[in-house]
């Protein structure tokens, strides 16, 4: 996605950033408004629609019973997929996921996996034979920038809203019960993405900013404030100062977002149990 205008836009965005400003009136370290709605897809075991400013992503969780990976016989399986469907942007094309969608899914997946958000050992039913397999499927509905964070919040919120049937094992047979329970949650990872342009890094790049940035840096932190996943993407370079600054902000903002958006979802599950 590149056009002649972007050089002009780039200058404009740098000029604003030099004054600590952004085109939509935000500060450099300010997120767009976040809105999370869970449980809107009844056919899915869990679901969430997230809007981050004008960006919208929906995540659905489907749970199946299947075989574990041979090297991890005592653990359930979680897998992320992302679809950049053509209804979400004039630049998306129909067809199997291309590298942008694959990178997006893998970075969201890493954030959830490395923070051990879901206790996968508790999703083992019969070791080596039967485990819960969780499919986290993300559909981008409206791309107005920063799909990484919007998708990560959608995946985390959908997992928090997921209810799976209780199971009973009799003579090696698994029986699904009518009663349902929420997933065993251990952590709440929060993803934060920065754009770098000129000498500046700014939080939560919107579409106009994404078109002119040199590169992006996504940092996922867990509830202890540890860093669990990082991805620099696109073609530019970062300085050590950029990284140190981004880490500080990611830890601080991560805590805020966890408290404000994910903790209430976690608490509301306790009532559902």
């Amino acid at each position: 996605m590149h056009d002649v205008l972007s050089e002009v836009e780039k200058r404009f965005i740098i000029t604003l950033a030099n004054k600590g400003q952004r085109a939509d009136g935000r500060e450099l370290r300010e997120m767009r408004p976040i809105n999370i709605e869970t449980g809107l897809i009844k056919k899915a075991e869990g679901s969430a629609k997230v809007s981050l400013g004008e960006t919208k992503v929906i995540a659905g969780i489907k749970a199946e019973i299947g075989a574990p990976f041979p090297d991890e016989p005592n653990r359930g399986v979680i897998t992320c997929n992302a679809e950049l469907i053509p209804l979400a942007s004039p630049f998306f094309e129909a067809g199997p996921p291309q590298e942008d969608a694959i990178e997006l899914a893998r970075v969201v997946d890493r954030g959830i996996r490395e923070a051990e958000m879901v206790d996968m050992e508790k999703l083992c039913i019969i070791p080596g034979e039967k485990v819960w397999i969780l499919f986290v499927d993300l559909y981008v509905l409206d791309d107005n920038g920063n799909l990484f964070d919007a998708s990560s919040y959608a995946a985390v919120s959908a997992l928090l809203s997921t209810m799976i049937p209780k199971v009973e094992v009799k003579n090696g047979e698994v029986k699904l019960l009518d009663e349902k329970e929420p997933l065993p949650i251990r952590d709440l990872p929060v993803s934060l993405t920065f754009g770098k342009v000129g000498e500046h890094i700014f939080l939560d790049p919107m579409l106009d900013e994404e078109r002119v940035i040199d590169c992006r840096l996504t940092i996922v932190t867990d509830k202890e404030g540890r860093i669990t996943a990082v991805q620099k993407s696109e073609d530019g370079a970062l300085s050590e100062k950029d990284i140190n600054e981004a880490i500080e902000i990611a830890i601080e903002k991560g805590r805020e977002i966890r408290e404000k958006y994910f903790m209430p979802l976690l608490k509301s599950r306790e009532g559902a149990e």
Binding site: E99, E103, R106, I227, K232, G236, E240, N244
Partner: protein, 255 residues
Amino acid sequence: MDLSSKYSQGDLLRDGVRIDGRGVRELRPIKLEVGVLSRADGSAYIEQGNNKILVAVYGPRELHPKHLARPDTAILQCFYRMATFSVEERKNPAPSRRELELSKVIKGALAPAIFLRNFPRSTIDVYIQVLQADGGTRCASITAASLALADAGVPMRDLVTACAVGKVNGQLVLDPNDIEDKLGEADMPVAIMPRKRFITLLQMDGRMNKEEFIEAYKMAIEGCMEIYKLQRQALMERYMAVRKEFEEEGGGEDA
């Protein structure tokens, strides 16, 4: 047979000595060769521990399909592929999601070093073939790819050098091998343009607190600076050899 299942985490580090006998800040032995393929415009080969990787560069050349061409700059295309026999269990020859993601981040690591705007409407293609893998292949690929680009005569701001840092038993270790990567607690690949220490690749998975994270990437940069010396040496060797050939032929057409 997966080697990592033979070992446990406790084997990884004993009295500061790693499973392959290295110290915590020690690189694996590295062998670099430039100009190893005849048809490619530029090429390089790297062995880093048991990794064996070949890189070819073609271009700047005409781009197909043409609609991908950009009016103001060349595009860079990277293809990171593992041979089916490069890992313990045969890899499916179709490119995996991992290979596609790595191709993308490797492109992002190399692009800042290249004067792509000198070649509008064209492409520079980097083909990376991993022949044998032993942890840290993306970093070794970047190190070799930047040599192959230099060998192709592509104008560059700097070389790109990459090195990973891992975490085993709570201890940061430089240039982790496959077992350390699989059994370890974290892995952080880093690529830099060494002259200005710009960071062009940064990934991490696992768990690190803020202090560890900062120490880890500083350690990775130190590793890169060591590898950078070897890269320069490999380029010099290549061009000394070319010069010698030239002189032996009687100094070329002008003489």
